[in-house]
Amino acid sequence: MPQHTPADTSKVAQRGPAGAIRPNRRAFLAATAGAGMALVVRPARATPTSMAVAIRRVVGDAQPTPGKVRLNLPPLVENGNTVAMTVSVESPMTPKDYVKAIHVFAEQNPLPNVVSVQLGPRAGTAEISTRIRLADTQTVIAICEMSDGSFWSDTVNVIITLGACLEDS
């Protein structure tokens, strides 16, 4: 079989049975493949903006200051379906100075909210643990609200090898 050079393949492709000019097959395939890729539906994702909106709903006009909170997450997670998370806050937990609430947000999950916890002076120590889902490698933020109305935050970057399933499993 003779080898076609790029020049003569285009010549062959453009000559139809009746001699009419047809679109180049290679160009057509390239164009439709691109269109098909564009139609792939991506799962819903929280964006940094929607996370900012969710945080704003909690803190109002206040600006959380980094510090006091410690968000403990493994830096490298194999399975995003269960990620052990511990949040602890430096606080004497007295009736005058205690942690009112702890909120956790994830940037790349379908919904930015992860968990909200209400505490009181009776807690003794402001430390909670739970297991969360993370859809992708992302930034997780813990924000705590003190009894004096101040907000403190901690941010952790987590690398996820296998994300929590959004599609069928």
Partner: protein
């Protein structure tokens, strides 16, 4: 509709001491973003709220979102003040409610 729970509260504690409470409940926490094998969205079915009371007084409340892993697990702390009952209550979608109790003796 009740689910299996696992509660870990110390049976006895010294007055004024901080105790750790661990709770686990069996629940799929279906997040509402997954599709089944024929492409139909599986409706959300999660626990939305978990409340813990110590002799009737609320000491811990959590609002859960779909990002909480299946079989929600919580560890939190409280000061052992009096002997009595620590009660736990989970509520969720589709009328899900489960309650559990643990007794504690404070000396």
């Amino acid at each position: 509709m009740a689910a299996r729970t696992l509660i870990n509260v110390p049976k006895r504690a010294k007055r004024g001491k901080i105790i750790a409470i661990k709770t686990l409940i069996s629940h799929p926490m279906e997040n509402g973003f997954r599709h089944n094998n024929i492409g139909v969205l599986i409706p959300r079915d999660i626990i939305t709220s978990f409340v813990c009371t110590y002799n009737g007084e609320e000491i811990f409340r959590a609002t859960l979102h779909p990002a909480i892993a299946a079989n929600p697990f919580f560890t939190f702390h409280t000061v052992a003040t009096d002997s009595g009952t620590i009660a736990f209550r989970w509520t969720g979608d589709n009328g899900f409610t489960t309650e559990a109790n643990a007794d504690i003796t404070v000396e």
